[in-house]
């Protein structure tokens, strides 16, 4: 095992496939926080000739983005693609290891649950679509097999299958409840119905044409994904974006957080049929969306970020309009939340419902508002600052309860910070260009881009091939990290509270699947 430093600012620790648990333990003991594990197929590279599995950790709190990360990297030999799983010491890595098992055929020896995650049971065994020798267009035949999942036995225990198609217009996801009366003993979610093959699709494209794909990863966190991708690309090329662009990115990122959080403040009320809350919330969200459209030309802020800076610039007049709109909306958000939280039915339904303990949040690697509402003081914006966050004043609110109420209240606490951040940007937006041209990208290199989206940390991994094109692109959205926590938080609650608990996490399905 040796440590070399400074690969695009990422400290790399090399490890043998079967020494991974030890190497990972070392990093964890140094206070590293697990982000994600990314597999790459580098068998065709003469200097590698193997699969490479990299475990990424955030190691240096308060450091700048470029030197804050550590990768534990292992070459997994092509002829015997197996390694020692770290899931038993790092439960947060469970899904990442299952995913690389599905898509690359890398076997994590000692993994407690190696059922298919991404590809479901109808995909033929032994076919690994993200390997380089698998052509993009190849179709697979349907395999007739049944899904296996943990079952609970006993008198009075019933199984309630829900979805993947629901009565409301929402994304597909299947949930198996093992219930006793109305109490949930175990919830087994089956997601990954919306695989679009984005990661495979961008392989071989120019780095510059990957951005639209990154924006489509998620419909409601598209700015955060775009900035993650752009950060990775810029860190690859070594370009520093203009200072005005870094402030403008903060502006759009916070506007995105704002419309999501305000929308959630209303939408969580729909989980208990509280019409006042959900209607008032969606009305406020609509006003924010219109403000977004007035500023960037897109209600969901798409197309505003470009590689090397921003694709749109703003005028003084637009900023004034935005400021006016926000000062109209902010007191109404406070009013809405005051009215909602003083309702005794809301108190009764929200409090002590869907509790996620700090220990579970830590073990599962939960991120974002859900983690902070459970007592984990995490925020990429503060811990590994990027863009102009270093120069701006904001707090990272943390609560201890971890119930639906805490997650609801968390949205308000964070929305207040976003309002304040936006004001600061509006007051001191520097003049200058908004885009720095990027000439070319280095060959056979990689970089990561990590940002704090409304749902938590979005992690993008971008590697280039021998021609400087995209060799591997991987996205771990905040949702991906948080889904296992929903199943945990539901345990012991009653079935009719599930929609409420689910809404309090407000996770997407598609960005988890890509």
């Amino acid at each position: 095992m040796n440590a070399d430093k400074g690969f695009r600012g990422i400290r790399t620790v090399e490890s043998e496939p079967y020494q991974l648990p030890g190497a990972v333990t070392d990093i964890l003991l140094q206070g590293g926080r697990f982000l994600n594990a990314v597999a790459t197929d580098e068998r065709h590279r003469k200097d590698v000739v193997a699969f490479v599995l990299r475990y990424f950790f955030a190691t240096e709190c308060g450091a700048t983005a470029s030197s804050a990360y550590t990768a534990v990297s292992a070459r997994i030999p092509a002829e015997r693609p197996s390694y020692a799983s770290v899931t038993s010491i790092l439960p947060a890595a469970a899904w990442a290891e299952r995913e690389s098992h599905d898509l690359f055929g890398l076997v994590p020896v000692g993994h407690p649950d190696l059922r298919p995650l991404v590809l479901h049971e109808h995909w033929p065994q032994g076919v690994y679509p993200l390997r380089k020798d698998y052509p993009l267009e190849r179709r697979q035949t349907y395999v007739d097999a049944s899904w296996t999942y943990p079952k609970v036995d006993g008198e009075g225990v019933f199984e309630v299958p829900v979805g993947p198609i629901h009565a409301g217009i929402i994304e597909p996801g299947h949930f198996r409840f093992q219930v006793m009366g109305d109490s949930v003993l175990h919830l087994e979610p089956k997601l990954f119905y919306t695989h679009r093959g984005l990661e495979k699709r961008v392989e071989g494209l120019d780095v510059s044409s990957g951005l639209p794909f990154a924006e489509q990863v998620c419909g409601v966190c598209s700015v955060s994904h775009a900035i993650s991708y752009a950060t990775a690309a810029e860190s690859l090329s070594g370009v520093t974006i203009p200072i005005r662009a870094s402030y403008l990115r903060v502006l759009v990122a916070e506007l995105e957080r704002l419309y999501n959080h305000v929308g959630d403040l209303g939408n969580i009320c729909a989980g208990i049929g509280y019409a006042y809350g959900s209607t008032a919330g969606s009305a406020l969200k609509e006003q924010l969306l219109r403000a977004n459209a007035a500023l960037t030309g897109h209600r969901y802020l798409k197309g505003s970020v470009a590689l090397g800076g921003m694709a749109v610039d703003v005028t003084e007049r637009q900023l004034l309009e935005l400021e006016r709109a926000l000062s109209r909306i902010e007191p109404r958000v406070e009013d809405l939340v005051q009215a909602v939280v003083t309702d005794d039915v809301v108190q009764n339904r929200f409090r002590k419902t869907g509790v996620l303990s700090v220990q579970n949040a830590l073990n599962l690697g939960v991120v974002g508002p859900a983690a902070r509402a459970s007592g984990l003081p995490l925020d990429v914006r503060r811990d590994q600052p990027y863009l102009a966050y270093d120069a701006l004043q904001f707090e990272v609110p943390v609560q201890a309860e971890g119930d639906v109420f805490a997650r609801y209240w968390q949205r308000l606490l964070e929305a207040r910070q976003s309002f304040s951040l936006i004001r600061q940007v509006l007051n001191r937006l520097p003049e200058g260009p908004v885009k720095e041209p990027i000439e070319d990208y280095p060959k056979e290199s990689y970089a990561v881009g990590v940002t704090e989206s409304p749902r938590g940390e979005n992690f993008h991994f971008l590697a280039t091939d021998e021609a400087g094109r995209i060799a591997r692109y991987h996205v771990r959205s905040a949702t991906y990290a948080n889904w296992p926590a929903v199943a945990k938080a539901v345990q012991g609650n009653i079935v009719p509270d599930f929609p409420l608990i689910n809404k309090s996490f407000e996770l997407c399905y598609a960005c988890c699947d890509r």
Binding site: E159, V160, A167, G273, A275, T279, V346, V495
Partner: protein
């Protein structure tokens, strides 16, 4: 002869306007939420749509599933013939006892719950078990409330009680009356599947009570089940009006003009009850399932206090 004709008219009126009441409440709720909302005639369009759709019946369903809509509709429609609407008599005035009304609704509820379990769908079974859980305290609460209202009349006949109340507007001054009014209203919300007990507008299958039991129905049978639910609602509102605010009803010597005034007054009262319901639904969220018995216990307590008070005051 004239009275018999008007009595038939009364039943027809409730049958025809039951969906409209549902539409009106929906419209009021939409307005309160600042939305335009569907037209008040939407329930008729829905019914028309269901009647022209194919029906899909689960292969696991037994004949109970198939006959339930007819039983439920028949029971509810029979209940409707018991109550005076705008004339102080009813089609089945001689058998019009509160006991019969309560048990006709009970019969409908029993079969609805059976049909929910019948197809083996987990949502239906969950909804049925919740409905039974709610009805366990709801039925005695309804009965106690009705008892508190009719105690002083020494009869259970709805028509007699209504006529008696019309002659004695003095009860408006009694505090007992308002206790019962409140209790009756709580029971009304529960029995018609309204917030804070059940959310009639939700698409969240996991939280449904009444709607959950209907999930497996489609086509004509769904139309019939929906109509029955709307009929039950208008029946309970009418009963509420009869027992609590019957003034303005026409009697059998009334002129056609007086009858029309009775109809108008009935609609105004109905609209008012609907408005109050819409307002309550707007301002409340759904309470936790296990809290529903407490709500009904409150209704029962109010009724009990009312009964005791009638002996003391």
């Amino acid at each position: 002869m004239m009275t018999a004709f008007v009595n038939v008219l009364q039943v027809l009126l409730l049958l025809v306007f039951a969906p409209a009441l549902q539409g009106v409440i929906k419209k009021c709720k939409s307005w309160l939420q600042g939305r335009t909302g569907p037209s008040v005639w939407q329930p008729y369009r829905d019914a028309w749509k269901y009647l022209h759709k194919d029906e899909i019946v689960s292969e696991h369903a037994s004949p109970i599933f198939l006959i339930t809509p007819y039983i439920v509709f028949a029971a509810t429609a029979t209940a409707v013939t018991l109550v005076p609407v705008f004339l102080d008599s009813s089609l089945l005035a001689s058998t019009s006892t509160l006991l019969l009304a309560v048990y006709l609704l009970g019969l409908a509820r029993f079969f609805t719950a059976l049909s929910g379990i019948d197809t083996g769908s987990s949502f239906g079974a969950m909804a049925s078990s919740r409905d039974m859980f709610v009805s366990l305290p709801a039925e005695p609460a309804l009965f106690l409330t009705l008892l508190a209202l009719v105690l002083s009349d020494h009869t259970l006949n709805i028509v007699t009680v209504t006529a008696h109340t019309i002659l004695h507007p003095g009860i408006l001054l009694s505090p007992v009356f308002y206790l019962v009014l409140l209790a009756f209203f709580l029971v009304l919300l529960t029995e018609t599947g309204r917030l804070p007990v059940d959310n009639p507008d939700t698409h969240l299958e996991l939280t449904m009570i009444h709607e959950g039991m209907l999930l497996e129905y489609s086509g004509k049978r769904l139309a019939l089940m929906m109509w029955s639910a709307e009929l039950k609602q208008i029946f309970l509102y009418t009963l509420f009006i009869d027992l609590c605010v019957p003034w303005g009803m026409a009697d059998d010597r009334a002129t056609p003009l007086r009858l029309l005034l009775g109809v108008a007054l009935f609609f105004i009262k109905l609209l008012f009850v609907g408005l109050v319901v819409a307002f309550v639904e707007m301002s409340y969220a759904k309470i936790r399932l296990f809290r529903v018995p407490r709500l009904l216990a409150a209704a029962m307590t109010l009724s009990l206090i009312a009964i005791v008070a009638q002996y003391l005051l």
